[in-house]
Symmetry: C2
Subunit: 457 residues, 2 copies
């Protein structure tokens, strides 16, 4: 492998130039005007993967194209499926960018461009790892399959449908996803848990129109008071969710996991610094990182009723509403939670108003057991690639496709994140650190090597 790593080192200027070319394509999936650039980004990947000798398919359907590619399959070697997305977030508010989002700026070892970290830079590191084997004439130690989509940032279905319909074609020993981040600049990490989601909206209907609060106050149920009572009923005084059955399927973190979280040393002080909140608060008897990564939540995302302008207006509002979402953890089932939540709200709904619950969207939580050979190989690869001790970490957010890979392919999904938590993904001035790009390519190479030594299952 020495020659491959040497090749990587010498190729850095070209690796940068090639990534900048990919970043110049404004492949924004949420805005129809960029549809031609979506095609260009998919073609960019197809062309490069073809040049590397892979068999490539541009899969077109109702949505944006999927790029599928594979090396020649040697059944004696493990197979790694690499997932990523070539589409990017919109750029507004564009006036807050310090340089044009699609004219990448490289400054002090950092690339500034939309998509640099999410997800072009991370995805492309894997392409460059494959390239290094091909260009040095070193046999790839594993079979590699790519499945790259163009609808991640707009929540499209294509990759889900394709995965569900083609489990044999996508068969592999592990899925590699690089769409997360290091724990911090000095600590590479594998994300082993993702929270799921059940996002709801509660609507309360009272009087036919806003009423004068003098004339009618005290005689009808006030929807504003009603929504407050409903939302307040969702927790007890210890921050625990009171929806019956909510915790039934929650997997408790084991002692090892707790100890690992504790070693990260992230507590009250760090949380107050990062959030600007006056203090931490959460479920009793759980640490900050447990609350953040492996405990389920129930949070108001929005709340409204009546008059919210300046000064006073003496009305009984005719309506009120709340957006309430739950972050879920293994093995909570979003559909079951949605039913339990709806039942609870209906049970506590006050008389004298009409209450309706809408479920806006669901995502399954993901837990990847840390003790599999592939996960351990991932950890070693990170340590080789970055030259630093690597950790398993949780993540409070959701990456829904990982749940689908787990369910359909039944292999570990290894989230080797090459970004940083402050890369401004989805914000102006998105960035990606060159060191993380180069070390990411090294990590991918090391992972192929580590994986190849594992016995085929």
């Amino acid at each position: 492998m020495k020659n491959v790593f040497e090749f990587l080192h010498l190729s850095r200027p070209r690796h940068l130039e090639d990534l900048l070319a990919f970043l110049r394509i404004p492949s924004i999936s949420a805005q129809a005007a960029y549809r031609p650039d979506i095609e260009r980004a998919a073609d960019f990947l197809c062309d490069e993967l073809k040049d590397l000798g892979l068999t490539v398919e541009k899969i077109t359907g109702e949505g944006n194209p999927l790029v599928y590619a594979q090396t020649e399959i040697d059944p004696s070697r493990p197979t790694i499926l690499i997932y990523g997305h070539y589409d990017v977030q919109p750029v507004d508010p564009e006036e807050l960018w310090n340089s044009p989002p699609f004219e990448p700026l490289v400054k002090d070892g950092i690339i500034y461009a939309r998509g640099a970290s999410d997800d072009k830079g991370q995805l492309y590191a894997h392409v460059k790892a494959v390239e290094a084997f091909v260009r040095t004439g070193t046999p790839l130690p594993v079979n590699v399959k790519f499945l790259i989509e163009g609808e991640e940032e707009k929540g499209g279905d294509s990759v889900y449908e394709y995965t569900e319909k083609n489990p044999a074609k996508l068969a592999c020993d592990a899925v590699l996803v690089s769409d997360t981040s290091l724990y911090n600049e000095d600590t590479p990490a594998i994300t082993f848990s993702l929270r799921g989601m059940c996002y709801t909206e509660i609507l309360v209907d009272g009087p036919g129109q806003d009423l004068h609060s003098g004339s009618f106050g005290g005689t009808v149920r006030n929807p504003g008071n009603a929504i407050a009572a409903i939302v307040a009923s969702l927790h007890d005084g210890n921050g625990r969710v009171t929806v019956p059955g909510f915790y039934d399927d929650v997997v408790e973190l084991d002692a090892e996991g707790r100890a690992e979280f504790d070693r990260l040393g992230y507590g009250e002080a760090e949380l107050v610094r990062d959030t600007g909140s006056p203090a931490s608060f959460g479920e009793a008897n759980y640490s900050t990182l447990e609350r953040m990564w492996v405990r389920p939540t129930c949070d108001v995302n929005g709340l409204w009723s009546g008059y919210i302008g300046e000064g006073g207006k003496t009305i009984i509002p005719s309506k009120a509403g709340a957006k309430v979402s739950m972050r879920l953890v293994p093995n909570q089932d979003p559909d079951k939670i949605a039913r339990a939540f709806t039942d609870h709200v209906n049970a506590v709904a006050p008389s004298g108003v009409k209450v309706e619950v809408k479920v806006l969207h669901n995502a399954k939580p993901v837990l990847v057991p840390r003790d599999s050979a592939m996960m351990q190989a991932g950890l070693r690869a990170l340590e080789t690639g970055f030259g630093k001790k690597a950790l398993f970490v949780g993540e409070g957010g959701s990456i829904p496709i990982t749940g689908t890979f787990q369910a359909c392919l039944k292999v570990p999904v290894i989230m080797l994140g090459y970004g940083l938590p402050n890369d401004n993904i989805h914000s102006p001035n998105e960035k990606f650190h060159l060191d993380n790009y180069y070390n990411g390519i090294r990590t991918s190479v090391a992972f192929f090597d580590e994986a190849s030594r594992l016995t085929r299952k």
Copy 2:
């Protein structure tokens, strides 16, 4: 008195013409552009009252002019102070008016114009009553004082300050206020109780900015959940306000009052019809009219937090707020209630957020004992004027100046309302029924007569 009533009947066309002239003046107090019209409206009244032989003062200060006028004072006769306001509400949304708001339209016995019912038409009825005595050469049976303001619709202080500073000048045996309404088209009424008000705003501050609900959900107190908990803590399950001490000073309605309310036959069905609410709801063991008129309330007027647009946004909001107002009844003291409310909110305020209570405004509740000779005289005058059985009724809203008259002048404030509940005051197409105008003038004449027969106190 017969000649006076005959004169009224014959003068109807002129009474209408004169009122229309008054209504053509767009004396909107809330909008500075109409300041010259405010002066014109005040002058209109000054000129007419001078013509009738009264001593008139146009009192100018920092605010809009007050019009004060009085007949020659005969100490052997009772004195009646008449209050009203010549300013009117703004007209927007003007496009919803079926005829121009300051070009009065008379159609099917109804005048359509801004200010027709609130309060020019009602106020002017008293002027025309005085006129009838003067023009027929009939000695006025009572001394009459007018105090007419031009800031009622914008909440100005002038009339309050003047009343507080000049109780001797305004000394009287009863105050007559016509700024309310009949109970319904067939039932003239005196309003004997008005609810007061304590209007507050609760502000909750949490994280320094909106946080990603995946990254931080479960680790900080969510201001949206916090405001819901605070608002929910304001009532128990029976619709009773839980603020400690809230009911301490509440005067219970006596059996006679209850019986009188019950006779009005306003219950669940009527409330559902008038409000469009699915059902009635309120404090247990009180009837709808008791809840509406003589029981205190605590209502959300507005509620806000986080994202309230379409679809979902996964944030922990950094702030939340609620406008919460309490309608008060005798003998609740708004200042004392404001303190009790603030103490309660601070006591239940969850940890991990900053909670602040602002008191936006206060108004005292008013109760006028129904058994005084002057109140009984008012009832008889209404029956004479309208030819129908009259009632005492409560009112859920507030008319703050009546509390000041009670406190400073220590006489009954007799609210003889000539409007109708559906006169669209403060809305497009404000109206005033000609019958109520003419019968209102008759009532004023009858009241002067009734009052003159009472022994001076």
